[in-house]
Amino acid sequence: MAALDNADREGVTEIREGVDRETVETVQSMAGKYKHGWETDIEMEYAPMGLNEDIVRLISAKNEEPEWMTEWRLAAFRRWQQLDEPKWAMVDYPEIDFQKQYYYARPKSMAEKPKSLDEVDPKLLETYKKLGIPLKEQMILAGVEGAEDAPAEGRKVAVDAVFDSVSVGTTFQKELEKAGVIFCSVSEAIRKHPDLVKKYLGSVVPQSDNFYATLNSAVFSDGSFVYVPPGVRCPMELSTYFRINAENTGQFERTLIIADKGAYVSYLEGCTAPQRDVAQLHAAVVEIVVLDDAEVKYSTVQNWYPGDEHGKGGIYNFVTKRADCRGARSKVMWTQVETGSAVTWKYPSCILRGDDSQGEFYSIAITNNWQQADTGTKMVHLGKNTRSRIVSKGISAGHAQNTYRGLVSMHPKAKNSRNYTQCDSLLIGSTCGAHTVPYIEVRNNSSRVEHEATTSKVDDDQLFYCRSRGMDEEEAVALVVNGFCKEVLQALPMEFAMEAQQLVAISLEGSVG
């Protein structure tokens, strides 16, 4: 009998380790709550609080921008004053006083632009080190199994780090230059590559696009700029790491990615913020231009501070992301893991203008406690034979509200186009909500559109099975949820997939029992 017991126990251990060691270990090792909640004590330089034309001019001046850029911002600002905040999303938050925000903050040490990473304030480097972001070149991303054995080329990731309002450094610039790839901060691009910026900035998300995008157009302080020349496959993954640090400061970054004919680039975005009682504003714009035969992969792991378990504090995340597949056979893939933010309002979209172009959207949105997420995508099919695929997984726990909102539009000229949409929602606990609001507009008959959505709860049988194998309830839920998200996790680049999987477990902590 004793032998049998032992065998059983061994069996248990085996399954625990074999099935999902990462998740289980993560939950154990990161037993705290939000792990990026600390703040860096660094001397900051702020623009005066509030927003008016002078602030817009000041931001422009701080970035040493040419006249045309200042005018561009002012035009956006004037437009913004006439717009109303959108109210249609299923999110509820107290009125934002846009005059009670700082629109520009940068570390004092950045007043003189450092010429290389060696000159960057060690405190800043320390911040990123603590976040696990390798700003020192050649550093290997932590946590990737087998990285040591992989050829050096394969594991380099160039990083542009944005701290509050400014870019503090971009790694691997030289090596990228050799390939002809431009990867720098937007402010630098405006100075060094004005023609490219002039041509593409605002061409996907115009200044007047929507309330938050217009605000961003007026006050964006920095962000990343990527240009991949024709036929070039970007030799490494590019990455931007956003960190909000200063208090009462809105972060407004603007990313512009251009993949010229036949180019390929994979881009990663990560974000964190300190733990604070007061909600903070984040309104970013990402524009992607994809020309003939080019391909862009854009992956996000959004982990802004979500507020505490009583819904106090957190980031209000109002983001406009859009890719314009201008060229024939161009391709864009959005992958997002949304675990943070108190309020998320975000719809990464694809304009499939070029014939045979392709858009994909993979999303995991996890809301716990009092978080609210209203997120999804728009697939606008304009060209012939365009294809899109949407896979959205929403997980709601605690008192959270999680909404998928999407649009699939087949224009009359988008002959023989195809869309497949799958939205699944998982509810954990009886006090949360999961909602699906898809819009489908089919204006030609040679296109096929399929939409499926399901809502269910974590399966009791699956939980029971896991628990009977010795897992505690939280481990079991994390495992089931990871399985539920598998399709999306697999679409992420490997380093991100690891982080995302860990986040899935962390975000749901305290959601059961």
């Binding site: 929602s425 949360c432 999961a434 030609n444 008959n445 559109v449 939409h451 269910s456």
Partner: protein, 429 residues
């Protein structure tokens, strides 16, 4: 909140030609309340989210767009059935053409007559479900109806009705503008079938409020045809008690503009609500909109929405469906499917299938597809010697079948299929 100027003006324009009845009797409070709602909400406009896919302009204009009426069908739909016919001509009750309501074995009175009485069982219901249905989405056309309805039937079933009640809406004047309001009460354990057919009027605004008590059952089959230019905005507001059943099927063919809203509240445990629709449309001036809102507010209820649309020559089909599961409505089973078959490149299908769920132990799903006729299947049929036009019709019928099968009565189902076959034969090519 004050209404925008455009809405105020539109509302004034619409209200200008209408007046409350001089002796509204027990409906007075309901009518005044509804008028106040209309004034607070304003008439719908193109910019309203709920009217995103359908332009309500023709519903809110001062005068209806004229609609030529056609000679009556030789054999009207449901003709072979044993039923009690209640006929309206352009919204005016025609007693001579109607059967004696008493034959149905249930209580049937006319709104225009009953509102003169001091008290009436319908006093608690008239406008009540409509008012409840205004949350969370405004339905101003329904409130307008409650305020200004000229007639309608108040039907109360206390047991099993002997015959189905057939409301027939004839259309004989090119400029008629009809507003009818029916109230139906199904007492515990009672069972009633209501059939509706006919083009009604150039412009038709109809509300049907249905209260189904515990264990009651209500079956509804409607055929909306036939006159090409007619416009109709209809609402059904249903509230179900414990173990109650509500089943509604609508077939729509022709009509320049149709908006059918169905608002269902599952208020008692173990209720069942099915809404289905089949629509066939030909021509760029055909616009059909099904808007359904099902609220689950009790445990173990089941709801089904099945909508199929066949569109050709630039026709437009719209489906807005929502399943709302309130906190505590555990073990809900919600299903929704909306599909279109587009027979040419100009037709369009615009859909918004929504789920809003606040309870965790539920199984809710929705699906929506749109596409052309499957050429492989067509080829198969043709290779078996079926001529192309007939093969297309066969495929259309099989596509619509899932919706038609929602009708419980085999007799009615057969009748609907027959009508579909005739329509398809008339609209080949």
């Amino acid at each position: 909140m004050a209404l925008p100027q455009a809405k105020l003006t539109a509302t004034e324009v619409r209200l200008a030609g209408l007046s409350l009845p001089s002796a509204p009797g027990w409906t007075r409070l309901a009518r005044e309340g509804a008028l106040a709602r209309v004034q607070a909400m304003g008439m719908p406009g193109r910019r309203d989210e709920y009217w995103r896919f359908t332009d309500p302009a023709d519903f809110v204009s001062a005068e209806p767009v004229p609609a030529t009426h056609h000679a009556r069908q030789k054999i009207p739909v449901f003709d072979g059935m044993d039923r009690v016919r209640l006929v309206f001509v352009d919204g005016v009750f025609d007693a001579a053409a109607s059967d004696d309501p008493a034959l149905a074995g249930i209580e049937i009175t006319r709104l225009a007559e009953a509102q003169g009485q001091d008290i009436h069982w319908a006093a608690d219901l008239y406008g009540t479900l409509e008012a409840r249905g205004q949350e969370p989405v405004d339905r101003p056309l329904a409130a307008l109806n409650t305020a200004f309805a000229t007639d309608g039937f108040l039907i109360r079933a206390t047991g099993r009705a002997e015959k189905p009640v057939n409301l027939i809406y004839r259309h004989e004047s090119d400029s008629s503008d009809a507003i009818l309001h029916h109230v139906i009460k199904i007492e515990p354990g009672a069972d009633l079938t209501v059939l509706e057919n006919g083009p009604a009027a150039a412009r038709f605004n109809k509300v049907m409020e249905v209260e189904i008590a515990d264990g009651g059952a209500f079956h509804h089959v409607r055929v909306q045809g036939r006159d090409h230019d007619r416009r109709a905005a209809t609402h059904i507001f249903a509230r179900l008690g414990r173990e109650a059943t509500f089943k509604s099927f609508t077939m729509t063919a022709n009509g320049a503009l149709t908006r059918n809203e169905c608002v269902i509240e599952l208020a008692g445990d173990d209720g069942v609500a099915h809404v289905a629709g089949a629509c066939v449309g030909d021509g760029a001036d055909f616009h059909h909109d099904d808007t359904v809102f099902v609220t689950h507010d009790a445990e173990r209820c089941e709801s089904r929405q099945v909508f199929k649309k066949v569109l050709k020559n630039g026709a437009t089909g719209v489906f807005q469906g929502k399943i709302l599961v309130q906190p505590g409505a555990q073990k809900t089973d919600g299903y929704q499917i909306s599909q279109s078959l587009l027979l040419d490149g100009d037709s369009q299908f615009l859909v918004k299938p929504e789920l809003e769920i606040y309870a965790d132990d539920v199984a809710c799903s929705h699906g929506s597809t749109s596409g052309a006729i499957d050429e492989t299947a067509l080829f198969y049929l043709r290779s078996r010697g079926v001529p192309r036009a007939e093969a297309v019709d066969m495929m259309v019928l099989s596509f619509i079948a899932e919706a038609v099968e929602e009708i419980e009565s085999e007799e009615i189902r057969g009748e609907i299929v027959e009508r579909l076959v005739q329509w398809l034969a008339r609209h080949r090519g």
